[in-house]
Amino acid sequence: MGKIEVGVGFSENPDVEEAVREASIKLRVKFSSTKIDLCLVFFSFSQGEVKKLFSNIKLVLNPSLTVGCSLPLLIAEKKVFSKGLILVAFSNTRVIGNFSPLKKNILEDTEKFIWRLVRRVKGERRFFLCLANISGFSPIFLRGLERGLGRSFPLLGLFSHKEYSLPSFLLYNEDILREEGIVGLLFLDDLEAFFEINSGFTPLGKEAFVDSFSKDTIYKIDNRPAIYFYKNYFGERLENSREYFQRVSRRYPLGFKTEGFPNYIVSSPIKLNSDGSFKLFKEVPSSRVRLTIPIRDKLISCVEETVKKAKFKSFKVAIFFEGFNRFRFLKFFYPSQLEALKNLLGDTPLVGGVAFYHLGLLSSSDLNLGHFIGENSFSLLILGDK
């Protein structure tokens, strides 16, 4: 098997056929003599247009495996765009994929799904990439993944929750477009991959202690109902206005300090309960908590610092998933972040998208830190040669 090749193409054309034609021009040249084993597709087309999208990709590039999902916003090079298509093609790579609707028991179904994949390759596995859209409890889904793959297995994924975000569509080979389920890809090659999840939110105020919590709900902080943690900074108005609480908790997420991880794991409470407790989108990561604040310069410099950690001789591709909440704070300054990223990555293709949630291992330098689902953070995957 030859050296793994990765190519990227994108188009902002709102017409499906034109977009496929434009995005595949470079890829057809690059892969003129080699078969495309995998084509990752990120798109913004409506459900009705996806069949045409898939058949056009098949017609133009004829990859062995095609998987993808819709995203609210797409990122390619130095641009963010809301209409279009991104294609990431891999050749000379050994990869297997599958789809599962995950409709009954999220934990068991996810675990079984992973086992089915793993069995096919007799335990040989290097890296897992998943695209999921489920309606169940997200920490359970993550636990299902960990049961199947192990607590420190390298993975990266996009996650969409039907209750909390816009519907996302999943694409898996010639299957019809799915609104719910998981598309998983298991890479078997010795891929050199750097990955990290980070946010750049700045902690402030004194550290507090989570005294009482269960799974995703924090009941008490510093021996008082959890709401008092926010009331301390934002006053009594919080309890009376849920809209204000949501606005505040989105802008000032909780930063959890975990042993061994230098950064704060940032998470926004998504629901305020009547007893003053609040619910997170994921399991409570640790008991040491501080308030965090988004400062634009810090958000951008955090991305730069993260890329600098990837010590590769050369990069093949950088896949960047941005949390929607974090994107909202940068907004008009977002091109500055992409500019900073491209300055560090040079000619390496940079693609990705803005998604509501993304998941993966917190850091490739310490796999024992475990997996994480982020909404205020970004996840970066760089494939390259060491």
Partner: protein, 496 residues
């Protein structure tokens, strides 16, 4: 012995007492030190607590400032997004001059960029209302807005700036119940004082409307009015232009037809004149011949009275022959049948020669002839050009009283020659100036009537000049003399 025992026991007691005292003192010292240490630690804890409190207070202040900043930033972001969308919308609106395309340009994404989820545009069309744009509006409300309720609502909006759902008059409060928005803005679409319709921008989720949204709605509505006015003006101009083009076409056709008719009539007239003149000439020659023979008494003596009559016949026959000749010349030149033999002519020489012919007449009337001539060459038919000078000079002599001046001037102007014959004669009344070159035209003036002429001379002159690609005109005032000016193209050599 007892004393010794007593001393010994007292000493031991004292010893223990002293030891105990020392221990107590040491313990006290140690305790005091500990207490100090505790106090220092407590102080340190208090300091740390204060620091943490201060840090928290600072954090509160930072958060408060950031919250305010983010609110301002959000407002600013909304305005920037709104203005960007408005700019895109304005570009789309101003890039079309067709009403249909104008409304197609108002797309959902642009309305959303302006910060609204819905848009309804209602316009007056003849005697009714229509809704060419309806984005995110329920059908019931749309139907209501194009009926009498819409007419009343438009009347309410006219003359007002943009109003929000909160400012709506009680009589229209029922609209808020029918509409599927949580908040909305409404504005009339007005071109000058003419209300064209109205615009409603709504939000399905958001209750509050920012100041920026009001401005954006105001700009949008005036931009819309401007575009609709532009379209109306363009259509008006386009229609008028089409009508004008049609009229010009019709007029050109009728003029072309008239011109063809005139040409045909003129040709027929020339042919007729030519034919008739030819026919006249033969009998006239006979009449004149016989009259001459009779005067010469070739057929016997004739009485004096008869001679006088015969001489008059002879003279009138001469006049008639001249007239016929001139008519024939005019007809020939007009029809293009006259052969013009072009040659290079030195004008000053020709003018001097012609002036010599008229020497007797000039002397007879004691007229002074001034020649201001440059040596210039023209390409012309010599005999025709001579007839021009002869006609003009003889006219000048005829109509100039005794002792006055006549001036002939010849000068170069650009690439042509301008020749003028100016007299100090009776002049031509203003109303006759434009007719003077017409055939048989005679000025209604006693003196003019005295002077004999065919009435064809100036017409012939004009035809000759035109045949040579020149122009002729007259400048004159009654009683102050006349100046006949004509131009001729310069011969090639003279141009240099």
């Amino acid at each position: 012995m007892e004393n010794l025992e007593f001393l010994s026991s007292t000493g031991v007691s004292l010893f223990f007492f002293l030891i105990s005292l020392a221990v107590i003192i040491l313990l006290a010292i140690f305790s005091l030190k500990k207490m100090d240490r505790i106090r220092i630690l407590e102080k340190e804890v208090r300091r740390l607590e204060n620091n943490l409190r201060e840090m928290d207070e600072q954090a509160k202040l930072i958060v408060k400032t950031d919250l305010e900043l983010s609110r301002v930033q959000e407002e600013l972001d909304k305005r920037v997004s709104g203005l960007l969308a408005l700019q895109r919308l304005s570009q789309s609106l101003s890039s079309t001059l067709e009403e249909e395309n104008l409304f197609l340009a108002i797309r959902e994404d642009l309305i959303s960029g302006l910060g609204f989820s819905s848009c309804l545009i209602v316009l007056k069309k003849e005697d009714s209302l229509v809704a060419p744009v309806s984005i995110g509006v329920n059908d019931e409300f749309k139907k209501m807005m194009v009926s009498q309720e819409g007419v009343d609502f438009l009347r309410f909006l006219v003359g007002k700036k943009v109003i929000s759902h909160k400012d709506i008059s009680p009589e229209f409060e029922y609209l808020s119940q029918k509409i599927n928005f949580k908040s909305f803005l409404a504005s009339s679409i007005q071109s000058k004082d003419n209300p064209l319709g109205f615009l409603i921008l709504g939000n399905t989720f958001q209750e509050e409307i920012s100041g920026g949204a009001l401005e954006i709605a105001e700009i949008f509505s005036s931009q819309l009015a401007q575009s609709l006015e532009n379209i109306r003006l363009f259509e008006e101009v386009f229609r008028s232009r089409q009508e004008l083009e049609e009229r010009v076409k019709e007029r050109t056709n009728s003029l072309q037809e008239a011109l063809e008719k005139i040409k045909k009539i003129s040709r027929l007239k020339s042919e007729f004149v030519s034919a008739v003149s030819h026919e006249f000439r033969t009998p006239l020659t006979s009449i004149k011949g016989y009259a001459s023979l009779l005067v010469q008494e070739k057929f016997g003596k004739i009485p004096a009275e008869v001679r006088l009559r015969l001489e008059r016949i002879n003279q009138q026959a001469d006049t008639l022959v001249n007239m016929i000749n001139e008519l024939l010349d005019i007809a020939r030149i007009e029809s293009g049948r006259s052969k013009i033999e072009i040659q290079k002519i030195e004008l000053s020489e020709m003018i001097k020669r012609i002036a010599d012919y008229f020497y007797p007449q000039l002397k007879g009337k004691n007229l002074q002839l001034i020649l201001t001539l440059s040596s210039l060459f023209v390409e012309a038919d010599k005999s025709l050009l001579e007839r021009v000078f002869i006609n003009l000079l003889s006219n000048a002599i005829k109509f100039t009283p005794q002792g006055k001046k006549i001036e002939i001037k010849c000068e170069k102007k650009d690439n042509y020659v301008e020749v003028s014959v100016r007299d100090e004669g009776i002049g031509i009344p203003q109303e006759d100036l434009e007719n003077i070159f017409k055939e048989f035209y005679k000025i209604d003036n006693p003196l003019q009537k005295e002077v004999k002429g065919t009435g064809l001379g100036l017409s012939l002159v004009r035809n000759i000049i035109k045949a040579h690609r020149g122009e002729i005109w007259v400048e004159s005032k009654a009683g102050e003399g006349s100046k006949f000016i004509f131009t001729l193209p310069l011969a090639q050599e003279s141009k240099i």
